[in-house]
Symmetry: D2
Subunit: 291 residues, 4 copies
């Protein structure tokens, strides 16, 4: 498994997310709190949006551990963004450690990351690949289950009647999750899937906390919202609990001891709107896992 | 395009192939003679067989250039093998530079490398992938046309009536080439494919020089056979022109100014048998491309 | 030898320097025009200043070739700066390819890069190292002659009576060059040194074109100044030849076919002031090389 | 701190040391038992001797973690040696993660590795560097305290009256340790040094367990000797407890649950002779630190 953090809000310097918090995403790369295996040393990645200069997100990924990457540390201090995705990876067995397999993945203006694994991926991979449009298929550059789900998301999103409407990304992510669940059922896979998926387009985002197995086993996910997220002398916190038009953090683990981190219930999605309003919705209208 | 070298013969130290010759595979990584673009700096790889210790080949690949890889230089001085494949890569546009995309590729006791490209790969890739058995599909860890052809070879080889018979590898490689040609025709691809493919199992090898376009445009390929290949004080040569039970080199370019390098005609395969006999055979009974 | 480019002027996007020009620094990494050996594939680096966010420059370096570095390409599209240093490296024989040996080097608010080599470095290295203050000695993280000269520069600069005065950086760079020349003479070194050195502090810069050997053998250096440097549809040029308060480029080779690139005479320094005025001054008041 | 393992004995396949044992050196790279911080993910290295092919050891090092290095895993399965040094690194704060800083270090026929750190290295480094002969100084390619001690060892060894005599390496290692202790005293350093140092020449080896601080705080070190070290189905053990002419392992931690691992007392050296006899001797005749 892996750890991730997503930020939407007033522009912050990257290191506010990546290095400064007590339990920053870099800290989680070698000392995760909420995982049995505390190590996420198989690469990392950061995607961020600079809408003034580019309609597509920037991407920095590496197969070396985040904790000793001087480029990341330097870059994080001079990069300002209002939409950031950061990820540290613990490679699933059998999936190679290459830069193309590091999260986040980006395509057009979308970026995507995953914490978890598709159960029995080996047995459903070909069916899922064959379901893709040529365009989505060509968007895949690596070999992970995660990037394949991103391609599925792109297809589901494109097929929506109103792909630009509020909630469209949530619909497409939900369809992606359901497709994985159905493909696993069709293939007779009994191992549960763990699908904490995050997708963003620079202004909006959706993050799921989903498992097709026992809900209590879903990988952890927290949301934190307020007016502005600041780090001063190592202490990171939301400066005001005011909700709305502010900042939103959605993370595998709380980044700080700040109050206000709320655990996302299993099989729910955190939907962050254009106005940075935060709402929850069920991951799937039909109970997943055949339950 | 890329450059490669294959050796079968009495055990030689790896550096006899990789560093010592005037035009060694490392030299070709930054100064290829027979290519318009002289640079092959997008990674390299070496596979070699140590049958006493392992039935499967060892593999060393890297995304950094061969010419400054200290590990390769050190390793090459202490590694003895009677079957070696070495490759320097110039990545085709759009194919990422990852370790899993570096040649050679290995599976079971087979190793494989490629110099060239499938014309219009983007338009035939999915059809070729779908043709694979589940086992061959799972053998793919990267995203190159080259590794996909290796998977196709594994399938064709397995389906042979006598996969262990002399000539079986040649039949499977021929079927692979024909399948590529047919898939390109079916997809209406007009760009020619360049398929200099090398496959070995530690005792035998087949290397094709093939193009579906104008034969004169086929990428270069040379064969050199004799009693023993030696490098002394920078001078590399076959110590005796005696044919049979000796050493065979099949290379994109001559490694040395030694006489005896023979140009392989276009659309022919070099077949090296168990006894290291060398023969040529046509790549395809049916004229490809122009048929 | 290596190739470098330095920019001071109105904020430009990094790719205006790194990827967009016909003869961009990336292009020079595999196809340098003005060097016998056209390849600079032993790593690269970029330093840039974002004074709003950090008093010290950001630094991105890598041991893989610039031409296939996806992180660099992505970063270059979203990074805006008014002071940029970019460098592609061809490692001097015996100097290892590590990230700490890649240029530019940074310390405090200074950044530094080098094209060339200290003649007989092996014989003068220890004396030069011993001349350093403890602080400058500790600023060294690698093993190159280049970084050692940066440490010497830091010492000479600190010892100036008015280190913040206009021209102070030029004085310190001149003292550095003289110290190298004297140390080589003292050690009986006859091989010439090639010292194209660039140092910047975010607002000002000095770049030398120096050799202790035959002046005609000095590595190439060009300066280009104007109002604003722009790249539109692959065509890069200064939009106005107006001098002053504009943009300055100092590069190993012209980045574009734009007129206005002027060759810097041997053993001269280009001094770029706070107001981006450009002046030349001799590298050394005393004729170097014992002449 | 780091973890290391040294083997001298009948030829074994590298993976017998590196991957197969329950607590192999790779396992220690992410799950060390006897350290507070269990992670050694800042690179690794292996040196091994193939005297038939080269008088100098081969060296394979990487800045990526050992646990996901496919090259290491492949190489380890086909490499046979009677003298192997393996090391996983947790970089000391401030020391960069570069390949040249990864252990082991090699020079001529000697190889060297270190677990620990020189106390107050920053304050004694220059004095120790200045003590070196030119030849030893030039043997340094990185910036670690460890490689500096190797250079000091080379000097002390060369100055011995009988550098080829039994015990000569132990004398030189002892002189190295004493020089560190004296330099630290001279510089007023109070932080203790931890100097578990291993040096080998392919036939003989010396490994120290030393601290200039409280002896109980010395980093762990174990020795294991017997007839032959074998790994069968994941179970690794010495096949016979017979001492002499057999195999010797000296490791930071036991590699297996096999009985026979003996803890080396603090401030002692394990000396392995030509005949693979094992003896202990005090690291320093004069009580260090507290003297």
């Amino acid at each position: 498994m892996c750890r991730f953090a997503l930020y939407l809000g007033p522009p912050i310097v990257l290191d506010t997310l990546v290095t400064k918090p007590v339990n920053s995403i870099i800290h989680q790369s070698f000392h995760s709190h909420e995982r049995k295996e505390p190590l996420n040393g198989d690469g990392f990645g950061v995607a961020w949006y600079v809408p003034e200069l580019s309609p597509t997100p920037a991407l920095f990924r590496s197969i070396t551990p985040a904790w000793n990457n001087d480029n990341l540390l330097s870059l994080a201090g001079v990069t300002l963004s209002e939409c950031i995705l950061a990820h540290v990876r613990a490679a699933s067995p059998g999936l190679p450690v290459t830069q193309t397999n590091c999260h986040p993945f980006t395509h057009g203006r979308y970026s995507f990351m995953h914490n978890g694994a598709i159960g029995g991926f080996d047995r459903v991979r070909r069916a899922l690949l064959q379901s893709l449009s040529d365009e989505a298929f060509r968007a895949i550059h690596g070999t992970t289950d995660s990037e394949l789900m991103f391609a599925m998301f792109l297809d589901h999103h494109k097929r929506l009647e109103a792909p630009e409407a509020a909630g469209a990304m949530a619909l497409a992510l939900e369809a992606t999750i359901q497709q994985v669940v159905k493909a696993a059922e069709a293939a007779g896979v009994v191992e549960p899937s763990y699908l904490n998926l995050a997708v963003a387009d620079g202004r909006r985002a959706v993050v799921s906390r989903f498992t097709s197995g026992a809900p209590a086993e879903a990988a952890s996910l927290y949301v934190h919202e307020g007016k502005q997220y600041v780090c001063e002398e190592g202490l990171c916190r939301m400066v005001s609990p005011d909700v709305g038009r502010g900042a939103v953090l959605v993370c595998s683990e709380p980044l700080s001891q700040d109050e206000g981190w709320e655990r996302v219930p299993p099989n729910q999605m955190v939907v962050v709107g254009d106005d940075r309003s935060v709402s929850l919705r069920a991951c799937a209208p039909v109970p997943p896992g055949g339950a």
